[in-house]
Each structure stands twice: as C-alpha cells, then as structure tokens.
C-alpha cells in the first residue's frame, strides 16, 4: 500500500513515507505517475481494461437473496390466468357482437295455422309483403318440412308432426344491420294476415346482450381480482425482500442514499421480475389461444363443435385479443413495480 491517491477534485494524499518495501501490497506509482498526462494515460488504459471486463454496475439488490423465482412464478400464473380471462372477454364480446349483427339482419314473419284459412296462401302473401319492404336483401320461405325440422332438437326425430299446428316462417334478410321501418308491413299484415306476427328478435337480442355483458363484466372483475392478488403478492414479497436485505438498506442509508433511491432500486428490481413473469405468462396465454384456435379448426366438422361454433364462433382470437393478452403482462409488470416502490416508501417511512 504505497504511493498516493488524488481525487479529481485535486486533493491528494500520499503514503510513500509510511510504507516499507516489505509492506508493499500494491504496485507503487512512480513519481511520474503524479504527472497529469501520465495519470490520464494510465487511467484511460485502466478504464479500457475495465470496460472490456465489466461495463455496468451490478444491481444494488442481490437477485438471489430475494425470493425472485417464487415471485416470478406467481406473476407467470397470475398473468396466464389474467391473459386467459382477457382472451375470453374478447371472445365473448366478439361473439356477442356477431350475434347482434346477424340477428339484427334477420326478421321473421311467423304465420300460425288457423282453421278456415289457407296457410299456404297466407305464406305466399307474407312473402310478397316481405319483398316489398325497403332494404330487404332476400326472402326465404321455410316449408313445412323445414319448420318441423327446427323442432327436432326439442321433440326428437321420427315423430309425425302433421297433426300439430306448426307455424310457418318467412325469413327476411337485410344487407345492413340498420333496422328498416316495419310500420307499413305491420299495418298490411294486420289487415291481410291476422294470424301472422312479426319477430325482429329484439327480446332475444336484448337477453343475449345482457348475458354477454354480464360475462364481460365478470371477466373484468376477475382481471381486477388478479391484479389485486398480484399487487398483494408483490407487497408481501417486497417486505420479505426488505427484511432479507435490511443490512444492505442500512449500508445504503449510511453512505447517503435517500429513501427515493432505495425505493427506485427496489422498483427496478421488481419491474425486472414483473416483466419476466408477465412476458412468460402472457406468452403462455398466447400459445394457449393459438393451440385452441388450431384445435378448434381441426375439430370443426364435429357436430357438437358446430353448435359451439355457432354460439361462440371459432375460438379464434383476433390480433387485438392477442395484443390485449400481452398488454396484461405489461400491466402486471407495472403493478409489480408501482406496488414494490410504494411498499418500500411506506416501510422506510414507518421505520423512522
């Protein structure tokens, strides 16, 4: 330990007179070393050496001493569940929108068989009236066999329904979802077809919307609960980390660190864990939906899957859905960072 040391502020201390050759433990800087140009060159060389081996300081907080893996796993699971929920919300919202659009484009005239009236003539009259409605794109008459077939799911097959007063249907399809004015049609139907009714599916549509909105709301509640649970898990993990690194926090305070600096370090540490967990969890959820999408495509010919597809669509997330699943990972990372910072602040201010 010989030579001297000068800070860049110009203060120098020397140890040359205190050391003997046998005590030398560090390379002695020659007298020329105190010359600014030599020192600058030396420092440049040393700096280059240092750059080549290590360019950045390690984190102030030790990654291993904090239950990082357990927390990452918790965040992965939370993000995965939240991602699944976000995807499901997307699917339901999209399906609800599809139902609304397709139902809004269809209006049905229902003609009930009444004694003394020729139902086939009534069906023809209804179809003629329907074709005259402005905006109608197509009119389709469901014949008796088709009408009876619609009852099969409820009554079973192989039954003779000829004695039953099965109503006949005339379906109007519209090009756009804008509901046309049915007042004139209703007036004519009331005059010429007293046994007919017009069903624009509003009641059904309203119930579907309520159901879909309820499911979407439940999805958002689950998302909120997952975020709260993640926040609590991070708060506990942060407190555990602070307890495990109390000696480090103590040293940081003693060398002049402010609470804000320590909180920032914790925030950075937990943001890193959050991003790691959030990314893995989000990607797992994306993979899940990709697999489901591919699988549902392969099993689409199955009769059961046809009904599910009719109700929920193809279980295929749009790009926006995948984006929101990944965004959930980012949100959870942000929650992780914010909660850890707030927890550190609260704990440090409470320790005063």
């Amino acid at each position: 330990m010989r030579g001297g040391w000068c800070s860049p502020r110009g203060t120098c201390i020397s140890m040359t007179e205190a050391a003997t050759p046998s005590e030398t433990e560090a390379p002695d800087l020659p007298a020329a070393a105190r010359q600014p140009d030599f020192k600058a060159r030396l420092m440049r060389r040393l700096s280059l050496d240092l750059f080549s081996s290590r360019s950045e300081l390690a984190s102030i907080l030790p990654a291993r001493s904090i239950a990082g893996r357990a927390l990452v796993l918790v965040i992965v699971i939370m993000t995965f569940l939240a991602g699944l929920t976000a995807g499901a919300v997307h699917l339901i919202a999209d399906a609800s929108s599809d139902w609304s659009r397709s139902i809004a484009r269809e209006v049905t005239i229902q003609i009930r068989p009444v004694p003394g009236r020729d139902i086939e003539a009534d069906v023809k009259t209804a179809a003629d009236l329907a074709r005259r409605v402005r905006g109608v794109d197509a009119v389709r008459i469901f014949d008796r066999q088709e009408g009876e077939k619609l009852l099969e799911p409820w009554l079973g097959t192989g039954l003779d329904l000829s004695e039953l007063p099965v109503p006949r249907l005339v379906v109007m399809k519209f090009a756009s979802g804008d509901a046309p004015d049915f007042a004139a049609l209703k007036a004519e139907m009331a005059e010429r077809l007293p046994n007919a009714g017009l069903d624009d599916h509003r009641l059904w549509l309203g119930r579907l919307k309520v159901m879909a909105n309820t499911l979407v709301l439940i999805g958002f509640v689950i998302l909120a609960l997952v975020l709260v649970a993640t926040g609590l898990a991070v708060a506990f993990a942060t407190r555990g980390a602070m307890a495990g690194t109390a000696h480090i926090i103590d040293v940081l305070h003693l060398v002049g660190a402010e609470d804000a600096y320590i909180a920032r370090e914790f925030q950075r540490h937990f943001l890193r864990l959050g991003l790691k967990g959030g990314l893995i969890g989000g990607l797992l959820a994306v993979v899940f939906y990709l697999v489901i999408s591919i699988s549902s495509g392969q099993f689409a010919l199955n009769p059961g899957s046809e009904q599910i597809e009719a109700l929920f669509g193809r279980f295929s997330l749009p790009l926006g859905g995948y984006a929101s699943v990944l965004a959930i990972g980012l949100v959870i990372s942000a929650v992780t960072a914010i909660v850890s910072r707030a927890t550190v602040y609260r704990t440090l201010s409470g320790s005063e």
Binding site: M1, G3, G4, W5, C6, S7, P8, R9, T11, C12, I13, S14, M15, E17, A18, A19, E23, E25, A26, P27, L29, K39, M43, R44, L46, S47, L50, S53, R54, E56, L57, A58, I60, P62, R64, S65, H247, I248, D250, V251, L252, H253, L254, V255, G256, A257, E258, D259, A260, Y261, L348, S349, E352
Partner: protein
C-alpha cells in the same frame, strides 16, 4: 460537529451515555477510546444519527439535526465517511462496486468516477482484487476496501470504528498513517480504538469514554 448535553438511554433503562459535551472541529484528528463496551460504537452511531439521542442537541456541519428530514440527513451523511468495525461490505457486489457505492447512490454516472475508484483501489493495494466479491478477500483486504469506500467521497468527517482491530500490527500502523494523511488533506478524523500502543504513535486529542461519560484529553 457538536454535542450539547447529549444523553442516550434505551427504553426506560439507565442512561448509557450521559452529558456529552464536545465538538469535532474541521481538520482535527482525535482518537475515541475506552474499554470494550464503553459505548464507542454507540457514540459513532449518535454522530451518524442511526441512533437518536434521548436528550441534548447534536449539530452536524453547522446544522441541528433535531427534526431534520430523512432526505437532508442523507445529504449530510454524504459528507461523512464511515469505516465499520465489521466492514459492512456488500457480498453480492465486487470490491470495485462496493467502493463506488457512495458515488452510485449520489446518482453519478459510472464514467465519471471509474478512474477515480480504480486509482483508489490500486492505491490501497486492491488493484488486482477489484472484480472479486468481498467474501474471498482476507480480513486486511476487506478492511482496506471498507476504508476505500469511506474515502471515495473525500469526506469532511471520517469515522472509523476499530479499523486496526482486525489486522496485524504492521498493517494497523499503515492504516493509522493513512488516516493521518487523510487528515492532512482536511478531513476531520475520529478513530475509535482501544489500542493504546497505536494511540501512543500519534500525539492527538483523545476522547475517552468511561461509565457513560466522555473525558477529553487535548
């Protein structure tokens, strides 16, 4: 730094430090001594404000620390270098990073202090140990790393708690010389030790703690 009628007790127990009235002047050098358990480390903690006095007034760099905010205290501590008896190096950081720590917490960019830290590490004989963690350093090397960490900020006041306590007499003398050299540059030094032979090497002020009282021998 000034203590006026300072006392400290833990809970409802008796005062372990009583009626402390003294000043540490800038550019001064003093030993803080006394038998083991006399309260040397406790007094250093009072100076650093990691312990709050139960009575009296402490003034640091002309500023009363009663009611001072944590942020202001942090800024005052940046002017104080501390060498702990147990070193308190952070094992997950390298020696270089430990020494740079006071500069890091001040928000300085690494490029601004890298050469300064390297030069200091070389000077204390740790030039070839800068990238190893403290766990593989010897006691003397840890001691020097801890001293380097205290010196890197060019403190106005250096507190050293039994720094020669963990090293052989030869290194202890060199450490003493180091503190004297540092004092010559303008840093006030408080060197806590119970090594009388070491104190006899230097004609300096002695603050002697005994039975809770401080006796000053100028």
């Amino acid at each position: 730094m000034r203590f006026d009628n300072v006392g400290l007790r833990y809970g409802i127990g008796p005062e372990i430090l009583r009626d402390l009235d003294f000043s540490i002047h800038s550019h001064s050098f003093q030993f803080l001594t006394g038998p083991s358990g006399s309260g040397k480390t406790t007094l250093l903690k009072l100076i650093l404000q990691t312990l709050k006095p139960t009575r009296g007034r402490v003034t640091l760099f002309g500023q009363s620390i009663a009611g001072i905010s944590k942020a202001e205290m942090a800024h005052l501590r940046r002017r104080v270098g501390i060498v702990f008896q147990d070193f308190r190096l952070l094992d997950h950081l390298t020696t270089y990073e430990n020494v740079a720590l006071p500069l890091v917490v001040q928000g300085r960019e690494e490029v601004s202090y890298r050469s300064e830290v390297i030069e200091l590490l070389r000077w204390v004989g740790l030039g070839d140990r800068m990238h190893v963690p403290p766990v593989i350093l010897s006691g003397g090397e840890k001691q020097r790393a801890a001293i380097a960490r205290a010196l890197i900020v060019q403190p106005a006041l250096l507190l050293a708690d039994e720094p020669p306590g963990n090293v052989d007499p030869s290194l202890a003398r060199r450490l003493l010389r180091l503190f004297i050299e540092l004092n010559r540059t303008g840093t006030a030094v408080v060197l806590a030790t119970h090594d009388l032979q070491l104190m006899d090497l230097v004609d300096a002020r002695r603050l002697v703690l005994a039975e809770g009282h401080l006796h000053i021998y100028d």
